[in-house]
Point group: C2
Chain length 169, copies 2
């Protein structure tokens, strides 16, 4: 665990210290062939509570990006899915999956090191998913086709939830 | 395991059979308080290889949506992060995190049962994240603020990857 002073504004070298942790974790797993050069760390009240990296190849899990792994780790550490007040550090600009995960986790502050262009230069392209959302997602059937089915079955399930459960998260 | 005939087009009742599996799984975990009424199934060559549901509350994991859980499960079953040729069934229209996960997994066909509007009616709102992407993400600092830091450290990591590793996924 690394403790940093609790202040509203952190110094540049403090940000870099945390980013270095993410970077070192990414280097370790990258060299083991677990995934790309992507690391992430999560900080709460000046304390690093999660450091993780991409493990897509090792875990056979296309969702195992560094940011998602760090969010999962932080959720376990804090015992909640709500990471309000935490900041996330990532060696690369988050892809839309990770950005959405960050938003679901209620993380409001993200520090990134390398740009999407720099990720693209080493072969990783996330921008096609950003473009999919920006251009109106249903208009790109080559990327993913959506169709509706089984509505009668599932709407009953939704209604049961509304009737019996209150927790919305 | 449920086996369905290998055909290019499946009958409506076959789609509904699979959606019912997703729905039943969601009902079970919903009643246990694990998460919302969201289930998902993944089918490859007419075989159901994964059935999962939302476990955000149980796992303290904001990324544990039904679709993400099903993708993780299918990846483990097949021993790869690449789910090309699979179709995904979801009781609700996928949120941007799940839609991105689907795209990363190379799943091209998605069947959903309930609409975003129906999810909203029972208290679940995903559209603010869709709007975030559609409206130009950096323009909504209240949702998430991004800043660049630690570039010098991480660009070296990216360059090392480009030099020593070839696998891009």
């Amino acid at each position: 665990m690394i403790f940093l002073p609790r202040r509203k504004t952190m110094r540049t070298d403090e940000h870099e210290t945390i980013m270095r942790l993410a970077s070192e974790q990414a280097r370790t797993t990258m060299e083991q062939g677990f995934g790309g050069p992507f690391g992430a760390a999560i900080v709460q009240d000046g304390k690093v509570i999660a450091v993780s990296s991409n493990s897509v190849l090792k875990d056979h899990d296309p969702t195992a990006h560094a940011e998602v792994n760090a969010i999962r780790q932080a959720g376990k550490v804090l015992g909640t899915h709500d990471l309000s007040g935490c900041a996330l550090y990532a060696t690369g600009y988050p892809c839309p999956m990770c950005m959405s995960a960050i938003i679901w986790a209620n993380i409001k502050t993200v520090y990134f090191a390398c740009t999407p262009q720099e990720a693209e230069r080493i072969g990783f392209r996330d921008d096609f998913i950003y473009r999919y959302f920006e251009s109106g997602r249903d208009k790109e059937p080559k990327l993913v086709r959506l169709a509706q089915t089984g509505h009668d079955v599932c709407i009953k399930l939704f209604e049961e939830y509304a009737k019996n459960h209150q927790q919305v998260y």
